[in-house]
Symmetry: C2
Subunit: 274 residues, 2 copies
Amino acid sequence: MPDAARVSLNTATVRARWSLRQCIDGCARHGIGGIAPWRDKLAECGVAEAARMIADHGLHVSGLCRGGMFPAADAQGLQAALDDNRRAVDEAVAIGAACLVLVVGGMPSGSKDLALARRQVEDGIGSTLEHARACGMPLAIEPLHPMYAADRACVNTMAQANAICDALGPGVGIALDVYHVWWDPDLAAQIARAGAKRLLAFHVCDWLVPTRDLLLDRGMMGDGVIDIPAIRAAVEAEGFSGAVEVEIFSADNWWKRDPDEVLRTLVERCATVV
Amino acid sequence: MPDAARVSLNTATVRARWSLRQCIDGCARHGIGGIAPWRDKLAECGVAEAARMIADHGLHVSGLCRGGMFPAADAQGLQAALDDNRRAVDEAVAIGAACLVLVVGGMPSGSKDLALARRQVEDGIGSTLEHARACGMPLAIEPLHPMYAADRACVNTMAQANAICDALGPGVGIALDVYHVWWDPDLAAQIARAGAKRLLAFHVCDWLVPTRDLLLDRGMMGDGVIDIPAIRAAVEAEGFSGAVEVEIFSADNWWKRDPDEVLRTLVERCATVV
C-alpha cells in the first residue's frame, strides 16, 4: 500500500477547481510526493513558471499529459500533430517529467479506417521518437479502453502497445491505467511482456457500476469493481517502482467536491485499497 | 449487400413499441425474411403461440436472445442460472431458432474477481451444453464490448469465445455483433480461427461518435464509424451464409420512431452500407 510520498496527483483529478499552483500547494498540504500535469495547466502559468514551482516544492513529475493525437485526414494535419508532439516533448523535458504520456488519437472525422489510423499512430510515434530520444524523454503509450477506439485512441490493448514498442525500439514504453486495461484477459501476460523497462507509468481510478458517462464518470479507487491491488502487484512484480498516479475524470462527483477532500480521500484510498 | 429476405429483425430494435405479433407483421410488410426474438417477447404471448405465428409467416429465426448470465455469488444462484438456461434452450427449440445467443454475464454484485466469473461462465456453458446437444440446439457465445465486462458479459473478445469453444467442443459457437468487436486488432485472425462452423450469427448496428450512453445509444448502420462491409466480408469469406440480424438499442432515437420507418430504414441500409 503506497504512502502519500509514493502517490502522484494527476491534475485532471481536480481540474475543474484548481490551477497548477493550487495543485502543487495541495500536494504539499497532503504530503503527496508527485504530480502529473496536463498541458492546459502548464499553458495557464507558462512552462518555465510551472517548472520552477514544481522544482521549488521538490515534487516528482510522474508524467506530462499528453502528446499523441497523431491520425489526421491529410498531410497538413499529420505534420501539425508531429509539431505539437515535438513541443510536448520539450515541455516534458522542461518540467523534468519521467515520461510524456501519449493518448494516440482515434480516426479522423469521417473515416472508418481503423487500420490506417493505427498505422498513422505508429508512424507518428516513430517520428516523435527521434526528438524524444535526443532529449532523453521516454514516450509512454497509454492504451485506452476500447470504448475510445473511434475518437480518442486506437491503441486499445497492452498487446498493441507492446507491439509498437517491439517495432520502434528503445525510448518508448507504456503508461498502464487500470481503468483502460482491467478487463483484458491477456493483461497479466502483457504486463510480463512489457517488463520494468517499458512500464513507465501506473495510473489508478476505478470502474463504477453503473458507469453513466463514457468519459467523465470514473470512480475513486475502492468505489468500483477493479481489483487494483492485483494489477499493481503484477506491475511491481516486474520491477516497476514508480509513482501511483491518481487520475479521475468525474464531472458529477469528485470534480464538484472540495479539492482538499479529494486529495485527502485519494491518499487514504491509496493506503488502503490500491 | 443483403436484400431484405436475408435480413433478420432482432426484436430489441423495436422493443419499445411493438409486440412479437407486430414485429412479425412488420417483417411481412417489409419483406424481411428473419426474426430474432428476445425472451420477453415470447413471454408476452406464450412460447407455443410465438412458434405458431413465426411458422405461419415462414420466418427464419436467426437466434433466440438470450441465455447466459451464469456467474453468481452462491451455489443457489449458479443453479438458478443453469435452470433458466435449460428453459431457454427449450424455448429456442420450440421456435426453431438457429441458435441460442448467450450473453454470458458479468461479476456478481460486490465481486471484483473477473477471473472467477470467467471460470463460472465456462462451467455454465459446459453444463448447459449437455442439454443443448441433446436437443440439437447450438449455443452462440456473444462476446460483448469490454465496457460491459463488469455487469453484462465477461467474455469480451472473439479470442475468449474461441478459447471456450476449443475447450468445450461441438455444439457451441459464436454470435458476432459488429458493435462489440469492431475495435479488436485481433478481429480478422479470430474470425478466421472461428471459421464457418463456429460463426452462428452475425449482428449489425453502428458505433456512434459521440456515444451518449453505454447501453442504449447504438446507431443505425451507416450512421457510425464501423466498417461493416469489411467485417461482413471477413465473416462470409469463412463461409458464413446466415442472416444479417439487425439489433439496435437506441432509447433516444430509433425506439422513439414509428417502427415501420425503422424497418424501412434498416432494410435500405442493409442494401447499401452493410
